[in-house]
Symmetry: none
Subunit: 231 residues, 2 copies
């Protein structure tokens, strides 16, 4: 369940912290937008439509709580407060102003990342969006475990589906068979790589392609497999 790059807005006036946080978030595959003042942040929240906002309370121009109120007037985007102010009344009033989480400086980037994941996860559950992965004419509905190719339904076995999904979540990337054994088969030492081959073979047949004339499933000799958009 890898996040397909969430867009995160970071509002923080300390350039050092901004760089540190932005780096670690970016390394986790997020798309980072930074702002160093409240006004700039509010503007970015509207124009960049982020999936989540990380907000420092101690901004130079406007108090962070006030910014949060303004933000809430125009958007219900999840907000995590990350600030030095740690007294109880601050926490309570800011949470009641509409923040989703509150983290006191100094915090570890690992913990911030985990809280970001938690808030995004919860927000995603409630947005009701049936998560779907698409590659070219392939569409994979994860919840329904339905796959269609160019609009036509495919009937896949459990392992075939899991395999295809694992590859689709990392589309364009070469994945080794050992990784697939670990992720799909759940036992890194148990299985033989031939098993992966066989399921790939079946998958190719159902996708209407063959190993000698691949479209979606390209094997990279000696390395692994990748799922690509054939168009």
């Amino acid at each position: 369940m890898l996040d397909p790059m969430s867009r995160i807005l970071l509002v923080e006036d300390d350039a050092e912290i901004r760089r540190l946080v932005a780096d670690s978030m970016a390394r986790l595959g997020h798309d980072i937008v930074s702002a160093s003042s409240a006004m700039e942040g509010l503007q970015a929240a509207v124009s960049e439509s982020p999936d989540l906002v990380v907000l420092d309370l101690g901004l130079p121009d406007v108090d962070g709580t006030e910014l949060l109120r303004m933000l809430r007037a125009v958007s219900s985007v999840p907000v995590i407060i990350a600030t030095a102010r740690g007294d109880d009344s601050s926490v309570v009033s800011v949470l009641d102003a509409g923040a989703d989480d509150y983290l006191v400086k100094p915090y570890s980037t690992a913990q911030l990342a985990a809280r970001v994941r938690a808030v995004l996860r919860r927000a995603e559950v409630n947005s009701g969006g049936s998560d779907e992965v698409a590659v070219g004419g392939l569409r994979i509905d994860v919840a329904a475990r339905d796959v269609t190719i160019d609009g036509e339904a495919l009937d896949l076995s459990p392992k075939e589906f899991d395999l295809l999904l694992a590859l689709a979540e990392r589309q364009g990337e070469v994945v080794s068979k050992r990784e697939l054994l670990a992720q799909v088969w759940r036992e890194p030492w148990g299985g033989s790589e031939r098993t992966v081959d066989v399921h790939l073979s079946w998958l190719r047949r159902k996708l209407g392609e063959s190993a000698s004339d691949p479209r979606y499933l390209r094997t990279v000799h000696g390395v692994g497999i990748k799922l690509v958009d054939p168009s």
Copy 2:
């Protein structure tokens, strides 16, 4: 956006803290259910269907993280961790195991209350709903417990109705038998999955379909069942 008394499950082995928290929560208009052990908590999470769970990690019988994992296997109820363990790796691993928030003891009841409000606010987006669910020619009147198919009334037993409703509330989604046992039978680990099969069989008969020629109830081998619009 009403605040009509949320039901909160508190899992905490320290009787003093339990009383303190329960009191303050109750004073804020919440309906409190308490449990002092992990097993008791899991049982209550299923049988009481709370709107939110406050969970201590340092339980006597099972590690709280493990309880969280078991809970997440059968329910997506929001969970706030409130515990003495405050190291970074604990926070990260528990949040990634599915917790919504993490609070380190000692905490003020005011802050806990604010965090409860924040999490409930975020979770409450899709909690509303009409008392009728429809899928294709199927219409389910939740309040009256009436079901009609293409306008004709169906006579379902209690379990059959609950089962159909549980599937209809997540129509199109594959639901595992374990989840159904938790939601319909309210026994997370005790029941046999055969029981689900049998009720499904009866349900199919009353819906005028069979396992070999399914219309509404599609079984997804190795995963579970989904209710779909057959048209």
